[in-house]
């Protein structure tokens, strides 16, 4: 339960922190940390407008997207705080729930018969497909490393005998990149762009409005928090006292958000056709990690 609460709290401020970082770096005053959530609350209280062409899918898909991301967050451990749902192989359910959300996003984007939304959908599907192995390779590495089969114990890297902070950092790096890709951030995508041709996530929700847009936004906040929590779990020793863990967790989350903000400020986004290469690089790094773990465990 603590884990869920921590994730919820995290989700409240990460998005704002990113925006805030970006504005400070670019020399603007910028909105407050909770501005994204305020926007969402406004959205939630607005009426709904659907495309004339769209049908039932547009009406239910956002809800499913939200629900599946929310349920998937139930499985995420936070630095030793047990998640609500935890069982052997829960990471599979986690990954596939995220995939379910993606599925629904994609078909929802097609429902309005738009000439743009398909572009985003196409990229989302392709990148999602390409990045999924990275996550699984990490998990496979962790399975070898820890001998556990559940997210709640897998990420307890610091508790392992051969642990080295380098592992934690590499994993954090990979998960960080996964986050950027899953959430369509720079360098893969620029959420603030205004050209539909180059967008991924934003273009898919062009015809989504009001409450539906709101919950999709919340889902993406959740996603941030989920990956942030995973990073925190790999870095923070799980046997520390509770308050230390919470403090460290908060620190990691803030750092994570700030780093993303910095990346978004200083990096330009890739050309669309270079994205695949980038994603594959991430996967390759994860395989490298896997090999390193093999060495560590003397399997080679």
């Amino acid at each position: 339960m603590t884990a869920l609460i921590l994730i919820l709290i995290t989700s409240f401020f990460t998005a704002g922190l990113i925006v805030r970082t970006k504005s400070i770096v670019s020399g603007r005053k910028g909105p407050g940390v909770f501005q994204p959530w305020k926007n969402v609350l406004v959205l939630l209280r607005k009426g709904l407008i659907y495309s004339e062409i769209s049908g039932i899918i547009s009406r239910i898909a956002p809800v499913i997207v939200f629900a599946s991301v929310a349920i998937s967050s139930l499985m995420i451990p936070v630095a030793g705080f047990k998640p609500l749902l935890s069982f052997n192989g829960d990471f599979i359910l986690f990954a596939y729930l995220v995939a379910l959300a993606r599925f629904m996003m994609i078909i929802a984007s097609f429902d309005s018969g738009s000439s743009f939304e398909g572009m985003g959908a196409s990229r989302e599907a392709l990148y999602g497909m390409l990045i999924e192995p990275a996550l699984f390779v990490i998990i496979a590495g962790l399975v070898i490393f820890t001998g556990q089969f559940s997210l709640s114990t897998l990420f307890d890297l610091p508790g392992e005998a051969n642990y080295n902070l380098v592992y934690g950092l590499i994993i954090s790096y990979i998960i960080g990149n996964i986050t950027l890709i899953e959430n369509s951030r720079v360098p893969v995508d620029d959420p603030k762009t205004h050209l539909e041709l180059t967008m991924i996530h934003e273009v898919m929700v062009l015809d989504t409005s009001g409450f539906n847009l709101g919950i999709i936004q919340i889902a993406s906040f959740f996603k941030f928090a989920i990956f942030g929590s995973l990073i925190a779990s790999t870095l923070i020793p799980w046997n520390l006292p509770v308050h230390w863990r919470i403090i460290l967790f908060a620190a990691v989350q803030i750092l994570f958000a700030v780093i993303i903000g910095l990346i978004e400020s200083f990096r330009t986004r890739f050309k669309m056709n270079r994205n695949q290469q980038y994603i594959l690089t991430v996967t390759l790094i994860s395989v490298l990690l896997f090999v390193v773990i093999l060495f560590t465990k003397n399997i080679f």
Binding site: L44, K46, G47, L48, I49, Y50, S51, E52, I53, S54, G55, I56, I57, I60, V63, L74, M75, S86, F87, N88, G89, I92, L93, Y96, L97, A99, L100, R102, F103, I107, F110, D111, S112, G113, S114, S115, F116, E117, G118, M119, A121, S122, R123, A125, L126, M129, E132, P133, V137, I139, V143, I144, D207, F211, N212, I215, Q276, F290, I299, F300
Partner: protein, 653 residues
């Protein structure tokens, strides 16, 4: 056997002589009878502890493996038949009456032979049932013989099945040397005293041809589009599974070489799965796409089997039990959602008279039920929770990760490859099914339909939704089936599964909780949304056109463009060809032009067609010997005598 055959022959005769309408009823009744009888027997078989031999007369032997497959077959055949009653209606007028009756007859025989295949161990009877199955399905496939390519697909199917039969025959014969009868039961002895993998390989080739493993799959993407949809559903749903049955049956007899065999099965299955889904994405013919997906799913099932065999080699019960259980469950699951998808696709094709997805669109509004059925099928086949596809993939994943956790390097590499391919298969399947569902059912129609599409008739809708029930049930409540499934797996492959059963049960109950809470959350958010927007009228407006207001349906994103980036990525493996006509110099005003892309199955074109064409050409050239001249015929006589003299003289014979 004899009574059964007499019964079927009498029905056959009856169907041929009575009127068409009554023929339909007789067919239904016969299928129902066979279903009831065989189901009762197999349920008895499943319940009773030992392999119940006394249940059936002589050549038939029922054990739990066969019972499992029979139940699957029965379910799909029932839905298939129900679907056919609706589906065939438009055909009744323009096809010869006898042909329709033959179709019914073939349906009965296909069903009966599919039931018999898992029940027979004696090689001779087994092959008879096997061949009848092939023949019946062949007749079913070529139902729409007027269509271009149907016959070719049918014949290619028949020939390849024949080749497969020869492989099985060879393997059976080799393994029963020294026995009087040719039977699978001899394998037990053979495998204990001989090297296992050569004969296993032969069996695998024979059964793999039916199942559609990589390199042996080329008949599948041709036969399924050619066949009417209920037949595609039955074939893809259950008939190709009998290939899996065969492999499983052989697996139960294996006694050595597990590591090699397991590795082989895993690698070939991984390739199969990846290849199937990679090809599927690029197809624009909806049924061809589904056919390639069958190949993919066979790959997944094969992964499960391979993992199971692998597990035996390292003595890891969890690995093998979860692998086999995953394979069995995926067999069941695939039969459900694949038949469902084929039926829905058939309903669509029946309305729009094309299989090209690029010419569809917006059908959700015209055929909502079919659309829902297809959506459920798509989600399930992509292996997404909370539907059944996820459960079987979960089992296979569990097995995989369990194997990875206790590694040796060589095995680890193979398991790693298996894992990577399984993950990629999942992602690619998602890409594929979002494409096909969206393009067919969402948005607007891209070209004008020949007539206003209407919802499929009641029989079709009913049979589309019949498989939905187990799809949803298994997806939401895997706890219900996991224990029986593991017991079944344990007794088939003689594994000790009680320990595994506990932890699996726990996982499954959590999955159930997750699925149910997903549903609750979904409903809750829906209610909240209704509450939140109650003050406003839900409005509709034009789709956002980026400021451009004259948007029309042709500007929609198409299937080709949706997978364009993927196609570029897959170019090294799967060449996508274009066909277009260039402008000529004297062409001032451009004529109407067409452009289309196609992606060829390189296995089919390079490995099957080319050699076959080469050989046939050679044969055509051999005809120079046939001069029609009397003198030459006498010369042959002389040459023959000379040949024999020479061979004798050289002591060759």
């Amino acid at each position: 056997m004899i009574y059964l055959l007499i019964f079927l022959l009498v029905t056959a005769f009856l169907i041929m002589v009575i009127r068409q309408r009554s023929a339909l009823y007789v067919t239904g009744l016969t299928i129902l009878t066979v279903v009831v009888v065989s189901s009762v027997i197999s349920i008895k078989c499943l319940i009773s502890a030992d392999t119940a031999t006394g249940l059936l007369p002589a050549p038939f032997i029922c054990d739990r493996l066969s019972a499992f497959f029979i139940l699957i077959i029965n379910f799909t055949v029932i839905t298939g038949f129900l679907y056919s009653t609706g589906y065939l209606k438009p055909y009744l007028k323009n096809k010869p009456e006898k042909w329709i009756k033959l179709h019914y007859l073939a349906l009965i025989w296909l069903h009966a032979s599919m039931i018999m295949v898992p029940l027979l161990r004696n090689g001779f009877w087994f092959l008879i049932a096997w061949e009848i199955m092939t023949l019946a399905s062949f007749i079913l496939v070529i139902f729409e013989f007027d269509e271009k390519g149907t016959l070719k697909a049918g014949i290619s199917y028949l020939i390849q099945m024949h080749v497969g039969m020869v492989f099985i025959l060879l393997a059976l014969i080799l393994s029963s040397r020294g026995f009087n009868g040719v039977s699978f039961d001899n394998l037990d002895f053979y495998f204990r005293h001989n090297s296992n993998w050569p004969v296993f390989l032969l069996f695998f080739t024979g059964f793999g041809l039916k199942a559609g493993f990589f390199l042996l799959h080329t008949w599948l993407p041709d036969a399924h589009p050619a066949a009417p949809s209920h037949v595609s559903g039955i074939m893809s749903g259950v008939m190709i599974k009998l290939g899996i049955y065969g492999i499983l049956r052989i697996t139960t007899y294996l006694s050595a070489d597990f590591a090699q065999i397991g590795a082989f099965v895993i690698i070939i299955s991984a390739i199969t799965g990846l290849f199937g889904v990679m090809m599927a994405i690029l197809q624009h013919d909806v049924k061809k796409l589904l056919a390639y997906h069958s190949i993919e799913n066979i790959g997944i099932i094969g992964l499960g089997i391979g993992l199971g065999i692998f597990g035996i080699s390292s003595g890891n019960t969890f690995l093998s039990a979860a692998g086999f259980a995953g394979a069995l469950l995926h067999t069941l699951n695939h039969s459900l959602f694949k038949s469902l998808l084929f039926y829905s696709a058939g309903s669509v094709i029946n309305q729009v008279h094309t299989r090209d997805v690029e010419q569809m669109g917006g059908l959700m509004k015209f055929m909502p039920y079919t659309g829902w059925a297809f959506l459920i099928g798509s989600v399930a086949i992509s292996g997404l929770p909370p539907l059944n596809g996820f459960i079987s993939e979960f089992l296979i994943y569990s097995s995989l990760f369990n194997g990875i956790a206790s590694p040796e390097f060589n095995k680890l590499i193979i398991l790693f490859i298996a894992m990577l391919s399984l993950v990629l298969i999942g992602g690619l399947a998602l890409l594929c099914f979002t494409k096909v569902f969206s393009v067919i059912f969402l948005g607007q129609n891209r070209t004008a339909y020949p007539h206003q599409p209407a919802e499929a008739n009641k029989a079709m809708i009913f049979s589309q939704f019949l498989p939905v029930i187990p799809v949803v049930l298994i997806g939401f409540f895997p706890v219900l089936i996991i224990k029986p499934l593991l017991i079944l797996t344990g007794s088939i492959f003689s594994l000790e599964t009680t320990a595994l059963s506990g932890s699996m049960f726990a996982s499954m109950s959590y999955i159930s909780i997750g699925a149910v809470s997903l549903l609750f959350l979904f409903v809750a958010v829906l209610i909240i949304r209704t509450y939140a927007v109650r003050k406003y009228n839900v409005k509709t407006g034009p789709t956002w056109g980026c400021g451009y207001t004259a948007v029309d349906s042709r500007q929609q994103y198409t299937a080709t463009s949706f997978v364009q980036e993927y196609a570029n990525l897959a170019q090294p493996v799967i060449k996508t060809g274009h066909s277009n006509i260039n402008y000529s110099d004297d062409e001032i005003f451009a004529e109407k032009r067409e452009f289309h892309t196609h992606s060829d199955d390189f296995v089919k074109s390079k490995l099957i067609f080319k050699p076959v064409e080469f050989v046939l050409n050679l044969f055509r050239r051999a005809a120079v010997f046939q001069t029609g001249r009397l003198q030459h015929y006498v010369l042959y006589l002389l040459l023959f005598l000379l040949l024999i003299f020479l061979l004798t003289f050289l002591k060759v014979i």
